[in-house]
């Protein structure tokens, strides 16, 4: 099942980073291969056509040269002997035509009155008709002197290959003739002419078989003598076709041809417009041109077939590679997916998951192994944690109990002596930890004398609280034996110093307040000096007495002082948790701030003063953690 959070799966990345580059490389190879194959095929075809046309042009050239020999021979013969009689001439011509099968007619045509003084035109003519050799006279057909075969070589005084022409008979036969002037003593006395049928040449042209292509033969003026399209023969010229199909390039080709050039060129098919390769070679004997035409599409068809095959192979190859990539991707992602599921299970708290059946020795296998180890480690850790938590919970529970016990050790009911109107008293202890090292206490020694204690054990936590409990108990016990504050503390100190291996100590302020007289006798064992608050707002610290914190030195001597509290005068007891309360900026609350606050107190009850004090400190410390126990005890004399 596909995970919808996975936007780019690995299989996609494989296709992107391997499949597409592979496709590009394949395509480039294919394209390059196409061009190379194309060039190669065109070159091969070009070589083939050049050789083919050269071969056939050479054959034709040889044939025409051979034909030309006969009238040449006749002309030379005629002037080398005494003028033969007409029958002799006819016999010579008949013999020659019999021997030379490729000649269809022979003429010896004379200039007017040059052969016979009384006869204007004499032209013995021997020709073949239906296998018979017929003897006649060309003059019988009219004045031959203006016919091309006669007049042109006569004027030029040189041999002349006529343009092809149709010999009119039952079936028009394409002919051409070769005429040689007969010159005697510098005078042109006649023309020797051989006629040949072009049927043989036509048959030979037909036999030149170029698959998908064709050959054609044009005269020295561009007239088609042979063309696969019979309709063009003797009607069209290369140039008329150029006009018909509006192809100036064809005219240029034609010009090249009639000028006897040899070339290989490309030009568009007049009808389809497809590129064709044309090779043309001149036939030197008579100025004709043999051409071979091959459509490039035909030449390239094998290349196209090859490319299509390669394309097919490429598609199949790519398909196989894609399948392999998908398989490879799944072989990677399957265990990963399993791992994801396992991790999700793990996240829900199931520690019994394990990756199983991971094959191979690869990174995935390593990951699975690490995962399994992680699960086992996690399991151990969780077990350890559970045990530790249980232990902690037990400790915490015990601490809670200790706190309750501690809380029960110090009086918590206010007002503590509702029936006593001589004074008002309120106290609070806020531990920094579960259990406090601070404590306060008050109890009557007798009907009138109230003992008031505030103390601060060094350190915090359980040890401090235990020390506090001991101290408190001792104070209470010693208060039963002694009534003077310094005596009480001296004895408590002795007890505390005994077996005090942990070197703990406790600063203590202990006072005995006579509710009737307002006498306030106190002893300060290293504790912060309490404040005396007068109703007019004046404040003062109680003077210190001799002695140091309890538990430090067994032989320490303590003294006491006595003051008399006037009506509404207040004794403000506190521990250093108040003046040393730290702000968020790590700055102490300080005596100065405490005194400023205390100096504003006038009519408030001890409860109000205590709560206001706590609130002021709380506001000052803000979010900072409480660093020490805070204990405040306020006693107000109401008499």
């Amino acid at each position: 099942m596909r995970n919808s959070r996975i936007k780019r799966p690995i299989v996609g990345k494989l296709l992107l980073y391997i499949g597409i580059p592979l496709l590009i490389v394949y395509s480039v190879i294919l394209i390059l291969n196409y061009f190379w194959s194309k060039d190669n095929a065109l070159q091969q075809m070009k070589d083939y056509l050049v050789e083919l046309t050269a071969h056939h042009a050479s054959d034709l050239n040889a044939d025409f040269a051979k034909i030309a020999e006969i009238p040449q021979l006749l002309a030379e013969f005629y002037v080398s002997v005494d003028q033969p009689s007409r029958p002799e001439l006819e016999k010579i011509l008949t013999n020659l035509i019999e021997v030379n099968s490729y000649i269809s007619g022979l003429t010896l045509a004379f200039e007017p009155y040059s052969y016979e003084r009384n006869t204007r035109l004499v032209a013995p003519y021997v020709y073949k008709k239906d296998g018979q050799i017929i003897v006649s006279d060309m003059a019988a057909n009219g004045d031959y002197t203006c016919a091309d075969w006669y007049s042109i070589p006569a004027l030029l005084r040189k041999p002349y290959w006529s343009e092809p022409y149709y010999q009119q008979s039952s079936e028009p036969i394409l002919m051409c003739s070769y005429s040689v002037p007969i010159c005697q003593n510098g005078n042109m006395i006649g023309i020797a002419t051989a006629n040949i049928s072009l049927q043989d040449i036509k048959r030979r042209m037909v036999d030149i078989n170029i698959m998908n292509g064709y050959t054609f033969l044009i005269s020295r003026y561009g007239t088609y003598i042979y063309h696969p399209n019979e309709k063009d023969v003797m009607k069209e010229t290369v140039f008329s076709k150029a006009v018909k199909y509006n192809l100036p390039v064809m005219r240029e080709l034609g010009r090249d041809m009639v000028l006897g050039k040899r070339a290989v060129k490309a030009f568009p098919d007049p009808i389809t417009g497809y590129r064709q390769m044309i090779v043309y070679t001149p036939i030197r004997a008579n100025g004709w041109t043999l051409s071979a035409v091959m459509p490039e599409r035909a030449i390239l068809s094998t290349v196209y077939a090859l490319i299509v095959k390669q394309l097919g192979l490429m598609v199949v190859g790519l398909f196989v590679i894609i399948l392999i990539m998908i398989w490879a991707a799944y072989s990677i992602t399957n265990p990963l997916r399993k791992l994801v599921k396992m991790t999700e299970k793990l996240a829900t708290g199931d520690l019994n998951v394990q990756m199983e059946n991971i094959k191979g020795r690869d990174e995935i296998h390593e990951l699975a192994m690490v995962f399994n180890k992680m699960v086992i480690d996690l399991k151990h850790y969780i077990n350890d944690l559970t045990a530790a938590t249980k232990e902690k919970e037990a400790v915490e529970s015990e601490l809670r109990i200790a706190r309750h016990i501690q809380e029960s050790l110090i009086p918590r009911i206010f007002p503590p002596f509702p029936h006593r109107k001589e004074f008002a008293l309120f106290a609070r202890c806020i531990p920094a930890k579960e259990v406090a090292g601070d404590f306060y206490d008050f109890f009557f020694l007798d009907e009138d004398n109230l003992v008031v204690v505030i103390a601060d054990v060094s350190g915090k936590g359980v040890s401090a609280s235990l020390f506090m409990a001991v101290t408190k108990t001792l104070i209470k016990a010693k208060s039963n034996e002694f009534s003077q504050p310094h005596k009480i503390l001296e004895n408590v100190n002795i007890e505390l110093c005994r077996d005090n291996d942990s070197a703990m100590f406790v600063t203590t302020f202990l006072a005995v307040f006579n509710a009737k007289t307002g006498a306030f006798t106190y002893c300060n064992a290293g504790h912060n000096p309490p404040y005396l608050l007068r109703p007019d707002g004046k404040i003062s610290q109680l003077e210190n007495t001799a002695g140091m914190a309890l538990g430090v030195w067994e032989d320490c001597q303590y003294s006491c002082r006595e003051i008399k509290l006037q009506k509404n005068e207040i004794i403000y007891l506190y521990t250093d948790g108040v003046n040393e309360a730290m702000s968020e900026e790590n700055e102490e609350f300080s005596y100065a701030r405490m005194e400023a606050f205390l100096s504003e107190i006038r009519e408030e009850t001890p409860r109000q003063i205590t709560e206001k004090s706590l609130q002021t400190v709380k506001e000052y410390t803000g979010a900072a953690e409480q660093s020490d126990d805070i204990t405040i005890l306020v006693l107000k004399n109401l008499l």
Binding site: S151, I152, L156, E163, Y221
Partner: protein, 321 residues
């Protein structure tokens, strides 16, 4: 008696006058079918003669006969012929009349390859020049007289091979025919220099439609209809060149002519130029023989003593004025 005589003459006339039944008309064109006769062919093919109520049978001369003689012999009713030839025959007594002068401009010219170094008429002096005989020789003679040219005149066959083979340095050609055959043999126009007789004040209007005087006198309407339908045929051919060419090529195939599309297209264009020469594009103005052309031709014919007297223009030309 007198009445009977008139009746006999009338019957005799009816028997001897051809083309009376169903207005059947024999019309012979003076050469093989080609674009030179496109207008008549189109008039026949597109039914313009029929529309005029004429049943025209077109004939093409193969050069071995004389259509004008056949006209005189009443074997045919109409034929086309050259102006110079018909004036000479009229002057010699043949009662033929011109009913419509189709070609206004002479297409006859002399041409030479530029490589021969010929650039002006004077350069023709001493050159071997191919000339045709008969009517084709009148303008050359006048031209040579005019520019005092003495040259070697060679009888030219009706093809261009002698020129291509340099047997004649200069050759005669019809601009619509032989001249373009040279072009279609691979010689570019800019490789040739030409002397068009028409450009040297020797313009001889060529093809016109002729009939014998009697036909004209007896059936002037038919004469008019032949001319107007023929001109309509020409107008159609120029407006529908491709169609006309295809039809002409079909005729050429039937007559086994060794011609092609390009040649016929060129011919039609040159003929159009000749018909519209000094007349413009409006068919209404086509087909008229101008007195100045007549005078020019007769003047030269007199000069060359081909005619001894000039036939009266009004008697000779019966077409639209």
């Amino acid at each position: 008696m007198k009445k009977n005589l008139i009746l006999v003459i009338f019957i005799l006339l009816a028997i001897t006058l051809p083309a009376q039944e169903n207005n059947a008309v024999k019309f012979e064109l003076h050469w093989f079918p080609q674009a030179q006769f496109a207008g008549y062919i189109m008039a026949a093919e597109k039914g313009f003669y029929e529309d005029a109520g004429l049943n025209v049978a077109l004939y093409f001369s193969d050069g071995s006969d004389s259509p004008l003689q056949k006209l005189a012999d009443r074997e045919i009713d109409f034929c086309t012929a050259w102006l110079s030839q018909t004036i000479a025959l009229r002057s010699a007594g043949m009662k033929i009349v011109n009913t419509c002068q189709i070609l206004q401009k002479s297409s006859l010219l002399l041409m030479a390859k530029k490589e021969s170094g010929i650039t002006s008429p004077q350069d023709l002096n001493g050159r071997r020049i191919g000339l045709w005989s008969g009517d084709f020789s009148i303008q050359p003679k006048a031209f040579f007289n005019k520019y005092d040219i003495e040259c070697q005149e060679v009888r030219q066959s009706y093809n261009i091979h002698g020129f291509l083979a340099d047997a004649w340095e200069v050759a005669s050609a019809m601009r619509y025919n032989e001249y373009y055959k040279i072009i279609l043999s691979g010689i570019d126009e800019d490789e040739l220099v030409t002397f068009s007789y028409a450009d040297y004040d020797l313009n001889f209007p060529e093809d016109g439609i002729y009939t014998c005087q009697k036909t004209w006198q007896q059936q002037p309407e038919i004469c008019g209809k032949i001319c107007s339908a023929s001109l309509k045929g020409w107008e159609y051919a120029f407006q529908n060149e491709e169609e006309a060419l295809q039809i002409i090529l079909k005729y050429c195939d039937e007559y086994k002519m060794q011609t092609n599309y390009a040649a016929q297209k060129w011919m039609l264009e040159v003929i159009e130029e000749s018909i519209k020469y000094q007349c413009g594009d409006d068919p209404e103005s086509w087909g008229k023989l101008k007195i100045e052309d007549y005078n020019r031709v007769t003047g030269i014919l007199l000069d060359q003593k081909i005619i001894s007297s000039v036939p009266d223009f009004a008697d000779f030309y019966r077409g639209e004025k």
